[in-house]
């Protein structure tokens, strides 16, 4: 659905996007991650035809964004990292204005606006002035706006920034609902744990270059990160460490306060071996929990955090 080939954008001597290659399949949620100034927003702006690339190409639904700008805009809903509002419009008017801007016929607009208001849970606010909404409400209104023309692709630049936890959860649920509706979503965020829960794929970008692209499961082997398991025993930590260290599949066992952190050798994770070993060794096992690789860890490992 989205294909980027050797995309480059330069601002004078600064290269914001550097030969970026990316492919996002239809119906996927793609998390676009990178430190500030990495080139995420510039890439998104090129995709929504608000900027021209210096070189390279980008396609949305098979359409070249530099040549078929108007057709691309019909297929894309773009939510920038800031909430631009018209002070003097009400919520319904704001959405209907954009419906008209997207060329939706007058007789269909009311039903469409009511539909997106319902989807974003803004029905009670339809007569409120746009600038009187709270930030969370404005973000929801932003999402309602990008849905107004039923685009195939949503490009959302940090839609959850500055929101409280409840609003973030609501936005996340809304994105899940949109995925169920078959939308292809490209989303950038600094709240990495949120992307982890909803993204099918992630792309980590730094200095305008993609340093990783793939599923979250693919990150671990790519980074040489080994599987870890948390083990809590009733008592006898030392005995447990002794038993587990003796296993050839285990690389290390470390005490992490309340629990033990067990690291497997690469490709050696074996279900049940830890539980079996401990129980057979007479140690009372309280719980055994696989440690998930956090996107934050991958992000920190992959990027140096250098800002342009």
């Amino acid at each position: 659905m989205i294909e980027i080939t050797k995309l480059t954008k330069r601002f004078g001597s600064l290269t914001a996007v550097d030969s970026l290659d990316l492919r996002i399949e239809a119906g996927d949620i793609f998390g676009f991650i990178g430190p500030n100034g990495a080139g995420k927003t510039t890439t998104m702006r090129i995709l929504v035809t608000l900027m021209e690339p210096t070189s390279g190409a980008a396609f949305i639904d098979g359409l070249d964004v530099t040549k078929k700008g108007k057709d691309v805009r019909r297929r894309v809903g773009y939510m920038p990292d800031f909430m631009g509002v018209y002070d003097d419009l009400k919520v319904f008017e704001y959405l209907e204005f954009f419906a008209a801007a997207f060329g939706i016929e007058y007789r269909k607009r009311k039903a469409i606006v009511e539909g997106v208001l319902e989807l974003t849970d803004l029905v009670s606010k339809q007569s409120a002035a746009v600038d009187s909404l709270s930030r969370g409400m404005q973000q929801r209104l932003g999402l309602a706006r990008v849905l107004i023309h039923d685009p195939k692709v949503l490009i959302l630049d940090e839609p959850a920034s500055g929101l409280d936890p409840r609003a973030r959860i609501e936005i996340r649920e809304l994105l899940r609902e949109l995925k169920r509706m078959g939308k292809t979503i490209m989303i950038s965020s600094h709240i990495l744990s949120e992307l982890e829960e909803i993204c099918d794929q992630v792309g980590i970008i730094e200095h305008g270059q993609l340093v990783f692209g793939g599923t979250i499961e693919e990150i671990r082997p790519r980074l040489g990160l080994h599987s870890k398991v948390r083990v809590k025993v009733l008592d006898g930590d030392e005995q447990a460490i002794e038993l587990l260290t003796a296993l050839p599949q285990i690389e290390s066992v470390e005490s992490a306060g309340e629990y033990l952190s067990v690291t497997f050798r690469e490709g050696e994770q074996t279900d049940g071996i830890i539980a079996r070993t401990l129980v057979n060794g007479g140690v009372d096992l309280v719980y055994l929990q696989p440690e998930q690789l956090k996107l934050d860890d991958a992000f920190l490992k992959l990027t140096k955090g250098i800002v342009h």
Partner: protein, 609 residues
């Protein structure tokens, strides 16, 4: 006790107690802005051009040396008067423009609340902003001092005039700047501040004298009405002390013709103006504190709606007036027509402003009728000039702000991310600019309708003025939209269009005049002036108004008004030639306007962020 007094004196003497670090920060920031250097350069260029044209006009090159020397004193007086009047008006306009973002920028970038979390107080914020801009304006005033000092050697100009005019100008600048700063506290858009400040100053300088004259039933200017009466002299004395225009006018008149003046104390005038500025600034300090504290606690709402909400005067969900309106017709056009006339001002308040303007206008009709001049052609020419100038200025401001205000409120990229074509967006913006100027054109239309009906204006003036307004609107709107696409800041865009207008219609004639005088080809300047909107307005109205002209058949109308065209030889011409001149000018300017539209269309999707 002694230590306490010493500490207090120490604090007062210490530099920066009044402004804190704001003053230094503002100077540092302004020194990095290219536009300030441009501003000074343009100011000097304009000033030099004015001085040169006056010099060349008075000291004729073709005369003998003895004759030329005999004209030196006259030239000295004229040059000093030109410089003084130029800087009087120019520096006030600059003060309004430069202080139009003084506080709103801080509030908009949410730094006002941050300042309140430091030991800086609201007095230091206000005075820091005010004095830093004032220093830059003082520099501009200082630039003219060597010219004035040199020209004074030619004779005829007293030190007293230089001192008094400088002080009157300075206090007027402080007042205009204070007003602009005060208005900028609650307006995020620079153009709204500029328009409002100009409106208030216009009321204070021009409408108030009219109202006072109407109330006291006397003339409002020397040589007008029954100025010989005691009440008239009393009114003039009052106006001179509270109105800088009258003050500067009086001291200049005394300089040109000593002994003809009324009793006027310029130190008193300056004290009154400083007092008025002090009141405005004191109120500004108070309001800044309220706004800053509100922002520091996360409650700031800069817009009118937000203010009402913050004051608890209206329910949150009902802050835009009226019911939900359905979008009809082209989206951008609908949105622009839905918006209030002036951003942040309820249409109700705009209508109140319009009613006040209409009442003031009717008041002027009444005052003029008392003088028995309502049937004179020069009166209608003056009204025509007023309406066209106002309409032109409004058109410049509104067309130059249509795009930049969207950029500033960060909605521009949202609009451009829709499939709307560049032409559709530009058309909507052009309609918006025209719609906002409609009240002025409606007033002109009303004036024409009333006085055509009364038999004081010939109906052909409607046709001629329509052509004039058409080309003026197309040209100015095109230029405004073009500069809107070039700049991200409203102030830059407005200043650019004003600079274009000044270049074409002020600097152009001056430079042309200089060249023509050097080459003894004044006829070229006269030809150029036929393309000038103000000259065209005056020609149309002077030729087709007044009881002498209103009843004439079309073929008998005469538009050769020698008063306007720089003393050039009178050349009588009729309605046909007037129409040809207007259509020719219209074709040229509409062509230029369309070129601007085309360039704006090409640039619309560049410099979006």
């Amino acid at each position: 006790m002694v230590i306490g007094v010493r500490q207090m004196l120490g604090t007062l003497v210490r530099p920066g107690w009044l402004t804190g670090p704001i003053f230094e920060k503002e100077l540092r920031v302004s020194s990095r802005r290219r536009r300030n250097y441009w501003l000074r350069s343009i100011y000097i260029l304009l000033l030099a051009a004015f001085v040169a044209i006056v010099w060349l006009g008075v000291v004729e090159y073709q005369g003998s040396t003895a004759f030329a020397q005999s004209r030196m004193a006259v030239a000295g007086k004229r040059i000093v008067m030109t410089v003084v009047l130029f800087q009087f008006f120019a520096t006030q306009i600059l003060a309004v423009i430069m202080l139009s973002t003084a506080i709103s920028d801080e509030a908009y970038h949410r730094t006002l609340g941050l300042l309140m979390t430091t030991p800086i107080n609201s007095l230091q914020i206000v005075m820091g902003k005010m004095l830093s801009k004032l220093l830059q304006l003082l520099l501009l005033l200082g630039i003219t001092l060597p010219i004035l000092a040199i020209v004074r050697v030619l004779g005829g100009v007293s030190w007293g005039y230089l001192l008094s005019s400088l002080c009157i100008t300075l206090t007027a600048v402080i007042f205009a700047g204070s007003l602009s700063l005060f208005i900028s506290i609650r307006n995020r858009r620079a153009y709204a501040v500029i328009v409002r400040a100009m409106f208030v100053l216009g009321c204070f300088y021009f409408v108030l004298p009219l109202v006072l004259a109407a109330v006291l039933r006397v003339g409002w200017a020397p040589g007008f009405g029954n100025t010989g009466s005691t009440s008239s002299i009393g009114l003039l004395a009052l106006l001179m002390h509270i109105n800088p225009c009258y003050g500067i006018g009086h001291v200049t008149q005394v300089m040109l013709a000593p002994g003809t003046g009324l009793q006027f104390s310029w130190p008193t005038h300056c004290t009154i103006m400083l007092g008025l500025s002090g009141i405005v600034l004191a109120r500004a300090v108070q309001v800044v504190r309220e706004i800053a504290l509100r922002q520091a606690t996360g409650q700031l709402e800069l817009t009118a709606n937000g203010r009402r909400l913050a004051l608890g005067k209206r329910r949150r969900t009902d802050s835009v007036e009226g019911p939900v309106k359905r979008v009809l017709g082209p989206a951008v056009v609908w949105k622009e027509l839905r918006a209030p006339f002036i951003q942040g001002v309820d249409n109700r308040n705009s209508y109140i402003g319009l009613i006040i303007t209409v009442v003031a206008l009717l008041g002027t009709y009444w005052v003029v009728s008392q003088d028995g001049s309502l049937d004179e052609s020069f009166v209608h020419a003056s009204y025509g000039l007023l309406f066209v100038s106002m309409g032109g200025i409004f058109n410049i401001v509104f067309s130059a702000t249509r795009i930049t205000s969207e950029k500033e409120s960060q909605t521009w990229s949202l609009l451009l991310a829709t499939p709307l074509t560049s032409t559709q967006v530009l058309f909507g913006k052009a309609v918006s600019a025209f719609r906002r100027c409609l009240p002025i054109w409606a007033l002109l239309g009303g004036h024409l309708a009333i006085f055509i009906f009364a038999g004081y204006i010939h109906p052909i003036a409607v046709f001629h003025l329509s052509i004039l307004i058409l080309w003026l609107t197309v040209f100015v709107t095109g230029a405004g939209l073009y500069f809107g696409t070039r700049f991200n800041r409203t102030t830059s865009s407005v200043v650019a269009v004003f600079a274009l207008a000044l270049g074409l219609w002020v600097l152009g004639p001056i430079v042309g005049g200089m060249l023509a005088l050097l080459n003894n080809r004044a006829d070229r300047v006269v030809n150029y002036m036929y393309f000038h909107p103000s000259v065209q307005t005056e020609l149309i109205m002077a030729g087709a108004s007044g009881t002498d002209n209103a009843d004439l058949p079309l073929a008998a109308l005469d538009y050769g008004n020698e008063r306007i065209l720089l003393g050039a030889a009178r050349r009588a011409f009729g309605v046909g030639r007037m129409t040809v001149i207007l259509l020719g000018t219209g074709a040229v300017y509409i062509g230029l306007g369309l070129v601007f539209f085309w360039r704006a269309r090409c640039r619309l999707r560049r410099h979006i962020f």
